[in-house]
Symmetry: C2
Subunit: 301 residues, 2 copies
């Protein structure tokens, strides 16, 4: 599971910092999460192939999380895309993006499918054989969802020595990997657990931005391998969180600790801070495994 | 008159090139012309004060000419702008921009005034004591205008020696600068031309992008000091101009020559070309004073 941070700063693009966007590589999927202005340039800088992105998840409709979307879609059109593109985001996103394209007579020549979200309780919005994605309702000034990405349990691995010992024919391998037992010619049943070993544990990733401190999300993100949680402010600016509905580094770490996650990645820093080092320091007082997102950075979990 | 090129490449933003946007400084005005994605970052790179921009002119509603506008307006809001912002562009621009801001509950706290254009003949869209701006109807795939910026004739300059010779009281200076004659105490009239010298000739600038070759614009832009004319293609790709409604460097130069302009600035280069040098070469075969726009470049005329 690989997380490419394209942009992770609050508010508007600046010469050296970009608004929110990231790409999660998980089981051969490339999921784009949020799409602030400049995302297509950041994708190029990070050498991510546009054609591999089929699913885009938008947390909420503040400009720093989706103003890059009309441009990215236009670029996909110019690149001659033909396959479907799925966009998941709050109700209204379809009208907004469609109008921006319509104004320029820039209809896409590929199916552009919007999945508009309005549920205030978690819902599965994407699922295939390998991965599921569900919303994490957050607490922000406008309707906002985080997203929880979960790998599904993979096939069981053949225990080569054991399979050889029982002289099992290759024809059975497919079923064994799926967890089935084997019945030998003499009628005895060889249980699957003797023939296989556990596959790697499926990974999970929770993206939570933008949001005020919201402990209600803890049960849903319990024990995920990695949690990206916004930390717009340091605790010294905690008085700003109520009106802006953002969180502090300490609050992000408290969520990480309560949910017992593997790693915490901080981001969405207010541009008022000269350096982001203090975010790590503040969070580490609560939770040990803290990482700082930064534009262009890649994490492997 | 100073022209800041923020972006001048066709199609979508790339790692090193930006879509169309430029700032014209003329008689203390800063006019923003077109606003492709990434314009606000380019403004910062060129150290142009956001607060000095009060008028934005959008040629047409293809993404590479206006997808940076919602983000720029959001930034002006965050910067606490209070004074009016005027946006001139094709009909539909108000609905598009307003919707993008509305989706995020991001109403501006300053008056955002749209001037929607639909005329197919030239019209004056802005005028004050110093400058006028009129549309230049162009020939593109969708409704498109260029813009013609004209300084107005300034006040006449006092001829200090002459004024001293005639012993003219300071109280008359205001009227003399406005071109009026002076009646001496003995009743003789001292004609203005004896008391003043001509002010600097007013400057003019024509922005023409995007457009197919359109000689009909020549009378309107006759003898402007500087003409920015798109040259998406070289003559070797002339066969592409009919469908795309773009022009070649040779065609741009032909317009410049027919209109007898002071200088031709080329831009809106297709990204198919590895170098832009050939555009200059091709144009110079027709017209002598050719300049190549490039992102970040500043011209003074």
């Amino acid at each position: 599971m690989k997380l490419n941070i394209l942009g992770c700063y609050a508010a508007t693009p600046r010469t050296l910092t970009n608004p929110t966007s990231q790409v999660l590589e998980i089981k051969n999927h490339l999921f784009l999460i949020d799409c602030g202005e400049g995302t297509q340039v950041q994708l190029r800088k990070n050498r991510i192939k546009f054609s591999r992105i089929d699913h885009i998840f938008i947390s909420h409709l503040h400009g720093d999380h989706f103003f890059g979307l009309p441009g990215l879609i236009s670029t996909l059109r110019l690149l001659g895309r033909e396959k479907e593109l799925h966009v998941y985001g709050p109700k209204g996103i379809k009208e907004g993006i469609t109008l921006m394209l319509k104004l320029g007579d820039s209809w896409t020549n590929f199916p552009l499918l919007f999945h508009e979200l309005s549920s205030k309780i978690p819902e599965v919005v994407f699922e295939d054989d390998n991965v599921s994605v569900e919303t994490i309702p957050l607490d922000h000034r406008i309707y906002t969802n985080g997203f929880l990405f979960r790998e599904k349990e993979g096939e069981r691995k053949l225990n080569i020595q054991s399979v050889a010992k029982f002289k099992i024919d290759k024809a059975y391998f497919r079923n064994i990997k799926k967890g089935k037992d084997v019945t030998a010619e003499d009628g005895t049943i060889i249980p699957n657990k003797l023939l296989t070993i556990d596959p790697p544990a499926p990974k999970s990733y929770a993206f939570c931005s933008d949001t005020a401190y919201r402990p209600e999300i803890v049960p849903q993100i319990k024990e995920v391998d990695a949690l990206y949680h916004e930390s717009t402010f340091l605790q010294s600016e905690e008085h700003l969180t109520t009106k802006t509905k953002h969180a502090t580094a300490k609050e992000a770490a408290t969520i990480a600790k309560s949910a017992d996650v593997g790693a915490l990645v901080l981001g969405h820093y207010s541009t008022r801070y000269k350096t982001i080092d203090f975010f790590k320091k503040e969070a580490e007082e609560i939770f040990p495994n803290v990482h700082l997102a930064d534009d262009g950075k890649v994490f492997e979990f």
